[in-house]
């Protein structure tokens, strides 16, 4: 079968650093861009579209285009937190399909570890931000917002800490094979539930790592993909959504994936049963559990059962996920993990994942990004990718 694809992912690069003491943020962007272009067999001179988000220093892409010596005729700096780079993939496909550019570069980079940026403090945007006064005084941080989502999911569906722990266990089984992963030790359900509670009901091992680094993607037109060989992956479907507090009518048991997922599946013309591998944004274990339900891999409320007993472990379970170790063990560069989700999906489709975690005959993969907060405002984006011959 050969499906039509309006654009291809020709190059990917995950920066190997996890603590960038001696590199600046622009340098990390540029090193990531160079790596992805080399992977594609292209150069900076070939790039005619540049996509970045709020982690890029300067006004949109202006400063980074200058730093990297880009000459582009199309740019997009859509900012939806950690999901931005999955959104950018979809926007790059649109731009290429419209003939606005033919080689799109997407970059991410940051160094929160080297800079010692605390993640416990609420962000202060002042009184311009309409929600600020009604949230910030109450001490919302990333962890306790995801904690509230987990607590409600447990209340409505009987989800347990042990079930959430299986998500981390699966990630750790994969990370042991990744030489660049920050955490490579295999952990057990007991290890997770016996780790200290950070904020109820989430334990330390329910939370992702904090790492420096970056990543880049190169998206090209079908005409250029033909010249680059069979390592190019097809982009078959893309969806995105914003979910928010809906004027006070809240439901923390689902994510924006309920919208972005069906759009991506419909565009790709495939179903959940067709997907061989998934990269699911894993800021916390609960993020994965809710997202898998919302993408339709199991019934709503059954995520706890679905992820249990190693079902997400490559070679063991039915739905191998995050075979690089994900944000939970490997890398969450600049607290934004969307780009690494796409990168590992492409590795799987090329057969270039670590042999211990490579999914046999991986033909179709899904990558999903989540940005912002599951308890307030989030950006969600889903892409469905295919092997070059898919």
């Amino acid at each position: 079968m050969s499906r039509n694809s309006k654009a291809y992912i020709a190059g990917v690069y995950e920066h190997p650093t996890r603590k960038a003491v001696e590199q600046t943020i622009p340098q990390l962007h540029a090193e990531s861009a160079r790596g992805a272009l080399q992977d594609a067999g292209l150069t900076m001179a070939d790039v005619d579209g540049y996509f970045c988000a709020g982690d890029a220093p300067g006004l949109g892409g202006l400063s980074m285009a200058e730093y990297m010596g880009l000459d582009v005729k199309y740019t997009d700096s859509t900012e939806t937190g950690g999901s931005s780079y999955v959104v950018h993939v979809g926007h790059a496909v649109n731009a290429i399909a419209m003939g606005k550019c033919s080689v799109a570069l997407i970059t991410l980079a940051g160094r929160p570890r080297a800079e010692g940026i605390a993640t416990l403090g609420p962000r202060d945007y002042g009184n311009i931000l309409p929600d600020q006064g009604f949230e910030s005084p109450y001490g919302p941080v990333v962890t306790n917002q995801y904690g509230m989502a987990a607590m409600r999911h447990m209340y409505e569906y009987g989800t347990t800490s042990e079930q959430l722990a299986w998500v981390k266990v699966a990630a750790s089984h994969h990370a042991q094979h990744n030489e660049h992963a920050l955490l490579r030790d295999v952990v057990t359900v007991e290890d997770v539930v016996n780790s200290p509670v950070i904020t109820d009901p989430l334990h330390r091992l329910d939370c992702c790592v904090i790492t420096d680094g970056g990543g880049a993607l190169v998206i090209v037109s079908p005409e250029i993909a033909k010249t680059l060989g069979d390592r190019c992956s097809k982009i078959l479907g893309h969806g995105e959504a914003i979910k928010h507090l809906n004027a006070g009518n809240i439901d923390l048991t689902y994510t924006g994936a309920v919208k972005s997922g069906p759009i991506a599946f419909a565009e790709a013309g495939v179903t959940q049963a067709d997907i061989d591998y998934v990269s699911i944004y894993d800021s916390f274990t609960i993020t994965v559990l809710e997202t898998l339900e919302d993408l339709g891999f199991c019934e709503k409320g059954q995520g706890g059962k679905f992820v249990s007993d190693g079902n997400l472990i490559s070679g063991v379970g039915k739905l191998p996920f995050n075979t690089d170790g994900g944000g939970l063990c490997n890398n969450h560069p600049n607290n934004r993990g969307g780009i690494t989700k796409v990168i590992e999906a492409v590795r799987q489709l090329r057969g270039e994942a670590h042999p211990k975690v490579q999914v046999p005959d991986c033909t179709l993969a899904l990558a999903h990004g989540t940005g912002g907060s599951i308890a307030t405002r989030m950006g969600s984006s889903t892409v469905i990718l295919g092997r070059n011959d898919a």
């Binding site: 931000l129 006064g133 962890t143 904020t199 006070g248």
Partner: protein
């Protein structure tokens, strides 16, 4: 029951929300509803997010609700409970639960509004277990 509490930062206040914060200083929780569609929304806005009417109006809330979800922060110098409380008026708001045993909180628990002084001279609506 008595335990150290975190200090409460100042809320940011703007032209759309100064009435809410003035009422809080008087120990009242007020909400915005829309005279065109009849719906209450939260946080309060000049324009109704349901129907875009500018005919929005403040009214007194009952101050009673139930815990939709919560999470007790165990890291840091002072534990605190963040929560969403669903008010009798139907909307849910982010808040803190105070004057409580953090280990005895529950989703669905009845709570009522009370107020805490912020670092400046503002009053902040928070909730405690209903009496």
């Amino acid at each position: 029951m008595t335990q150290a509490e975190r200090t409460y930062p100042e809320p940011s206040i703007n032209m759309e929300t100064e009435a809410y914060w003035a009422a809080a200083k008087e120990g009242k929780l007020i909400l915005k509803k829309c005279n065109a569609c009849g719906k209450t929304h939260f946080y309060p806005r000049a324009i109704c997010p349901h129907c875009q009417s500018s005919d929005t109006q403040w009214y007194d809330a009952s101050g009673k609700g139930t815990i939709y979800s919560y999470s007790v922060m165990r890291r840091g110098p002072t534990p605190y409970a963040i929560a969403f409380v669903t008010l009798e008026e139907g909307v849910s708001m982010m808040t803190n639960i105070v004057d409580c045993d953090y280990d005895a909180l529950a989703v669905g628990q009845a709570v009522e509004v009370t107020f805490r002084a912020t670092e400046g001279d503002q009053a902040l609506p928070v909730f405690k277990p209903a009496t």
